[in-house]
């Protein structure tokens, strides 16, 4: 649906030049909910702005729906843009129009019949919880309310592609959840492709099937969400993954353990159904080990669960070895940890 080939973007002003994107390659398939995450200033917004050609790439090639954007005439470019909804990081609402009119704008541009506009906008405003604000102006809304207007506006014309630049950054978790559910719903029902920029790993965890991690204008890691979350390779990615998969020992526990460092500490990682099984039963009964759970965490990602256990074990060395082999056979990763 969207392909970027060797796309670079450099901003110039006087002698200062900023390389916002460096030879980016990306492939987004129809129906994907593709997440892009990265530090502030990594180039995420620049990336989406290139996809609907609000900004022209310095070099490289962008294809949307099989069409090379650079080769389109203005008219065809506009036709493509009509199929792409965009939620802006800074909202970009019309201050002079009511909330209703703001959301109706894409429909008005498409010369939709008044009746249909009325229905569609009312439905969307109800969806984003702003039915009572229809007659208000943007300056009378809270930050999060403005963002929701932006979301409703982007969805108004039932686009084929939705670009979300930090679409939920100003929203509380509950509202975020309802918006993400809505996005997931339109994705499933209408097959909308979504390119979703965010700095919140939780958002990606909840609705994306694929993810790319950006750093300083490069894509440093990409793949399916389960694989990236389960086995992050790059340190930056690990950092992001940890914000939702809290699989590191908390600071307070570490301090306590440091004081009392006799016992060895093991970390057990497992994905999916294993967590359901009573593996500890085996450790106790079959291998006669006394296990102390120091810290544990389970995180649900895309219908499977990642689990991590930090344990201390007392028992015979031979039994421990047998236990570890048993665990490894059962796809549990065992690692000795030094603090």
């Amino acid at each position: 649906m969207i392909t970027l080939r060797d796309v670079s973007k450099t901003y110039h002003r006087k002698k200062i030049s900023t390389e916002a994107l460096k030879k980016i390659n990306l492939q987004i398939e129809k129906g994907d909910i593709f997440g892009v995450i990265g530090y502030s200033g990594a180039g995420k917004s620049t990336l989406v702005r290139l996809v609907n050609y609000l900004e022209r790439p310095t070099s490289g090639e962008i294809t949307v729906d099989g069409k090379h954007l650079a080769e389109l005439n203005p008219h065809n470019l506009r036709e493509i843009k009509k199929e792409i909804g965009m939620i802006f990081q800074q909202f970009n609402l019309l201050e002079s129009k009511t909330i209703f009119q703001n959301v109706a704008m894409p429909l008005i541009l498409a010369k939709t019949n008044k009746q249909v506009i009325q229905e569609r906008v009312t439905e969307l405003l109800a969806f984003v919880g702003l039915a009572d604000k229809a007659a208000s102006y943007p300056s009378e809304l809270s930050g999060g309310q403005k963002q929701r207007v932006g979301i409703a506006r982007a969805l108004a014309s039932k686009p084929k592609i939705l670009l979300c630049d930090e679409a939920t950054s100003a929203l509380d978790p509950q509202t975020t959840q309802s918006i993400l559910d809505l996005l997931k719903k339109v994705n499933e029902e209408y097959g909308i492709t979504i390119l979703l920029i965010t700095h919140e790993m939780a958002v990606i965890q909840q609705i994306c099937n694929k993810v790319a991690v950006m750093e300083e204008g490069n894509i440093i890691e990409k793949g399916s969400v389960v694989s990236v979350f389960g086995k992050p390779k790059h340190p930056t990615t690990k950092g992001f993954v940890q914000t939702v998969v809290k699989n590191e020992l908390p600071f307070s526990i570490k301090t306590k353990l440091k004081k009392n460092q006799q016992q060895k500490l093991y970390r057990l990682d497992m994905i999916g159904d294993h967590t359901m099984e009573s593996i500890f039963y085996y450790l106790f009964h079959t291998f006669q080990l006394q296990v102390t759970v120091v810290f544990t965490n389970m995180t649900e990602i895309q219908d499977s669960v990642l689990a991590v256990w930090y344990i201390q074990v007392e028992g015979e060395e031979r039994n421990k070895q047998q236990a570890w082999s048993f665990l490894v056979e059962n796809q549990v990763n065992v690692e000795e940890i030094t603090i």
């Binding site: 609907n52 609000l54 203005p74 470019l77 506009r78 036709e79 493509i80 843009k81 009509k82 792409i84 965009m86 802006f88 800074q90 970009n92 609402l93 019309l94 201050e95 002079s96 129009k97 704008m105 894409p106 008005i108 541009l109 102006y137 300056s139 014309s157």
Partner: protein, 219 residues
């Protein structure tokens, strides 16, 4: 004080003439000025539809017309005026130079107002696939409306000032009465009363403009 040679009928006629000249030239001038202003904003380098040649032609034309003192303009376009309204003198004939005077002026004020619109709004419009016309019509103009109203108010008042010169070609009007009677004939009553009428005009126009603009800016 009340020793004047102007008749009541002349007063009424002058008011009607002024309203007619200002009204007509404002109407046409606003349309032309808006179009010109929009064109120079839109076609400028990095505008919505960058077209250097249009900008490169319009920008100096506006300057050239603005450079010519109104009285010279009046004379210079006599053949043109005659071609359009059939005569070069009288109230209707005065409207032609007034339009030519006010249009580029309005164009500059419009330019300034439109350039103040938040670029993010224009981006939003472009992202929706709006045509350049739609960008202007549905996004830029509404956002600039408060400022445009104040600009038009300013232009209207300058226009009233310019109608005073309309007497040169027999246009009449309150300003001409002020010049011909108050100024040239030292008729204090005529001077004071015509100026009061002008002040009333201006005050009313400014109040309407301010109220509209405030309503739109809602602050």
């Amino acid at each position: 004080m009340f020793d004047t040679s102007i008749t009541f009928g002349q007063f009424i006629q002058a008011i009607i003439d002024t309203l007619y000249m200002v009204g007509m030239s404002l109407l046409v001038g606003t349309i032309i000025g808006l179009i010109l202003g929009i064109l120079i904003v839109v076609t400028r380098p990095s505008g919505v539809v960058e077209m250097k040649w249009i900008y490169g032609i319009l920008n100096p034309i506006i300057n050239i017309v603005r450079s010519v003192p109104f009285i010279i303009l009046l004379v210079a376009i006599i053949p043109f005026t005659r071609g359009i309204v059939g005569t070069s003198i009288g109230t209707t004939a005065a409207i032609v130079p007034l339009i030519i005077f006010i249009s580029p002026f309005i164009a500059r004020l419009v330019e300034n107002s439109l350039l103040e619109v938040n670029p993010g709004i224009i981006e939003a419009a472009e992202a929706m696939g709006a045509t350049p016309f739609q960008v202007i019509w549905y996004f830029v103009l509404p956002e600039a409306f408060g400022s445009l109203i104040l600009s038009l108010t300013t232009a209207t008042i300058s226009l009233i000032g310019a109608t005073a010169m309309a007497g040169t070609v027999g246009g009449g009007g309150v300003g001409d009465l002020a010049i011909v009677y108050g100024y040239q004939r030292f008729d204090t009553f005529a001077m004071v009363s015509t100026v009061i009428i002008l002040i009333t005009f201006v005050q009313v126009i400014q109040s309407i403009g301010n109220a509209l603009a405030r309503l739109i800016r809602r602050n």
